[in-house]
């Protein structure tokens, strides 16, 4: 059973009232709808018709609605059980453009389904690959998931596009008001006001956009001109396949799978106050849900989908992570595909409102990534894993065209700042793990050494192992208690041999010394005995030591005692 963090209003297992659940689901759809721009971009690039774009958006609603609800399932083999909505994300855009230009929409959908099958297969082996994804790797991925949205969000926030290359006052004004209202309600709003902060900010943004003419009457008319009810044309374009397109789509699926891992890691962390490490079972089930979502996308006729980091940012911001909201968001999305009039409200979202909403959610993603990275002790190896990955990831956006000369087969692997950073982090982690011993030995001389030596040795080794700071600190404290007890065990002038062994789940320290085991008191020695050092020091040290360890035991051989201290990690 996990412990709900105090900042959450509705935790993952909680059921908010129905009206609240629906409103929160709707709020998530506002964020998801920003991604409806990608089908429009693809259609424009490959020269398909606006009607095709409308059909693609319709299918996107059906496919992402299905997988958002599926992702929230916590029973059965599919679904992570978290509120982790999916969208037709940028991960599949480069591969879809290639396929679209080569074989039209049918090839995009066929290859998307193949990518889904690959993702589903990958989900079955991912649980055995945990060592490749320690917190510094997953934290960097989560951080970069937020960073990746910046080049999309910031131009929209400032009103910058291919025509207007400097800040435009009016769109900036609308974006600023939207962000100020959203952030204001999030910081100072109580209860429901915080829950709906983004919805309130976006509605304000729509109103100010309309008042200032950014949202025109012509655009608003789209709502009235759209049909009230329409049955979507499923699988209208069919599917085709091409072996040449396999690599770009498999790479897109892999980067989407890694993004899923980063996002679901964030979901695990924000829903558990005692989060320690990545839990691979729910990641595998979540990846399977993404794979099923992509197979559905291919069959229905929608673009490839991946989890939406911005929506996770929204859950953190509002303190509502209930999976019921996932069911609601998924259900409403699927319904919207049948009601074009309602769907049009999202389609006409003013650009500055998109920019402000994305920036708001990105803040929370970046912080979540930093928190995951810092949950472990950081040494120079991890500094390079994190630092180099972020630097090369950012280089993609800072120096456009830098990776343009890369072999076309490999280009999808370097198709975004997130992809570059993820590949760097995974490879650097493997590289820097070389030569790390999981066992370490040292000696303590109770007559000459102080606690400083134990601190120095263990803090350095804890950083190399990437262990949790609190567990290493408990181990240091327990070892120091042996040093405190040494004069009363007759160990002055003798050496204590220490050996420490680490794996991701256990930290075991063994101290071997010449002498006998000592008694571990079940209670603290009486306070009125404390003035007598001889009478109280050993028992207080032993008692204190027993409080730091999860388990301890003694064994004797050849006049030597081995004290075994176990710490769960």
């Amino acid at each position: 059973m996990t412990r709900k963090p105090t900042n959450l209003i509705y935790g993952v297992d909680e059921k908010p009232p129905l009206a609240t659940t629906l409103l929160l689901g709707l709020q998530h759809i506002f964020i998801l709808s920003i991604a409806f721009i990608f089908p429009v971009v693809i259609v424009k690039e490959i020269g398909a018709s606006p009607e095709d774009a409308q059909n693609l958006i319709c299918m996107a609603m059906l496919a992402t609605g299905f997988s958002t609800a599926l992702q929230a399932f916590n029973k059965g083999p599919v679904g992570s059980g978290y509120l982790c909505p999916l969208l037709n994300g940028p991960a599949f855009v480069p591969a879809s453009l290639l396929a679209g230009k080569a074989g039209g929409l049918a090839l995009i959908f066929g290859m998307t389904a193949i990518a889904g099958v690959f993702e589903a297969l990958f989900s079955q082996v991912v649980s055995r690959m945990r060592k490749f994804f320690p917190p510094e790797v997953t934290g960097t991925v989560v951080l970069m998931v937020g960073v990746e949205v910046i080049p999309i969000a910031v131009p929209k926030f400032f009103g910058v596009d291919s025509i207007h290359t400097s800040i435009q006052a009016l769109p900036f004004f609308v974006a600023l008001i939207t962000l100020a209202v959203t952030a204001g309600f999030n910081v100072w709003g109580k209860g429901k006001m915080r829950l709906y902060s983004l919805l309130i900010g976006m509605v304000t943004g729509y109103a100010v956009s309309f008042a200032t003419g950014i949202l025109t009457i012509d655009q608003a008319r789209l709502i009235f001109d759209s049909a009230s009810f329409q049955i979507p044309e499923i699988g209208k374009f069919g599917m085709s396949f091409s072996a040449v397109m396999l690599v770009p789509f498999l790479v897109a699926a892999l980067s989407s799978a890694l993004k899923t891992m980063g996002d679901l890691t964030t979901c695990q962390k924000i829903n558990n106050a005692d989060w320690k490490r990545i839990e691979m079972r729910s990641i595998g089930r979540g990846m399977l849900a993404c794979g099923a979502g992509n197979i559905a996308s291919g069959l229905l006729g929608a673009l490839g989908q991946s989890v939406s980091s911005s929506n996770i940012g929204l859950s953190i911001a509002t303190g509502a992570t209930s999976r019921q909201i996932g069911y609601a968001a998924g259900g409403i999305l699927m319904l919207l595909a049948f009601f074009p009039k309602l769907a049009a409200i999202f389609v006409i979202m003013p650009t500055p409102v998109m920019g402000a909403s994305l920036i708001f959610t990105v803040c929370f993603m970046i912080m979540a990534g930093i928190q995951i990275i810092m949950s472990r002790m950081i040494d120079s190896r991890k500094t390079f894993v994190v630092g180099l990955s972020i630097i090369f990831g950012l280089s993609y956006d800072a120096l456009p065209g830098l990776y343009a000369g890369v072999d076309p087969m490999l280009r999808p692997m370097l198709s975004s700042s997130l992809a570059v950073a993820t590949i760097c982090a995974v490879l650097l982690n493997v590289f820097f793990r070389l030569g790390i011993s999981q066992k370490m030995e040292f000696e303590i001389d109770p007559a000459a050494d102080t606690s400083e030596k134990i601190f120095q040795v263990m803090e350095k080794q804890g950083g190399i192992w990437g262990a949790r700071r609190d567990v290493i600190m408990n181990c240091i404290a327990a070892m120091n208690e042996l040093l405190d007890a040494a004069p009363f065990l007759g160990l002055m002038g003798k050496k204590i041999s220490m050996s420490v062994q680490f794996d991701e789940f256990n930290l075991d320290a063994r101290a071997v010394y010449e002498g006998k085991p000592f008694e571990i008191p079940v209670a603290m020695p009486r306070i009125d005995f404390m003035h007598d050092e001889k009478a109280s020091a050993l028992s207080l040290a032993a008692f204190t030591m027993s409080r730091y360890v999860d388990r301890m035991s003694f064994s004797e051989r050849d006049g030597k005692t081995e004290l075994h201290m176990h710490f769960e990690h």
């Binding site: 606690s451 040093l483 603290m524």
Partner: protein
């Protein structure tokens, strides 16, 4: 690496001992001597400011408890102030927190003595 340091201050006639660094088997002797010196001068109320204490071993804990016991026998008290998370954990893990009055800072501790 931080060696333990002790600074004596007298605030509103109450001796305040400001400790910094790590209190272990070796350095706890200095802390014990500092507290014993003040108790020998018949100071009944002492405040130990631990804002800058990074680590406390059982030797340090024993010294604090022994001094507290002496002061209680003199109708006095030893008040602790500004415990950092790890040091606070030492008191709660061992149950020693039930013996001490612990305050967020030394001003609060002094105010309480003056009541």
């Amino acid at each position: 690496m931080s060696k333990m340091e002790i600074i004596h201050r007298l605030i509103e006639d109450i001796p305040v001992i400001i400790v910094s660094g790590k209190i272990d088997a070796v350095s706890s002797k200095d802390l014990g001597n500092a507290l014993a010196g003040l108790i020998d001068e018949n100071k009944r109320f002492l405040v130990v400011d631990m804002e800058k204490v990074e680590y406390l071993s059982s030797s340090g804990l024993r010294v604090l408890m022994a001094s507290l016991n002496k002061l209680k026998n003199m109708d006095g008290d030893l008040l602790l102030a500004a415990l950092q998370p790890f040091v606070k954990d030492v008191f709660s893990l061992t149950g020693a927190n039930r013996f001490f009055s612990i305050y967020p800072n030394h001003d609060e501790a002094i105010k309480n003595i003056k009541k």
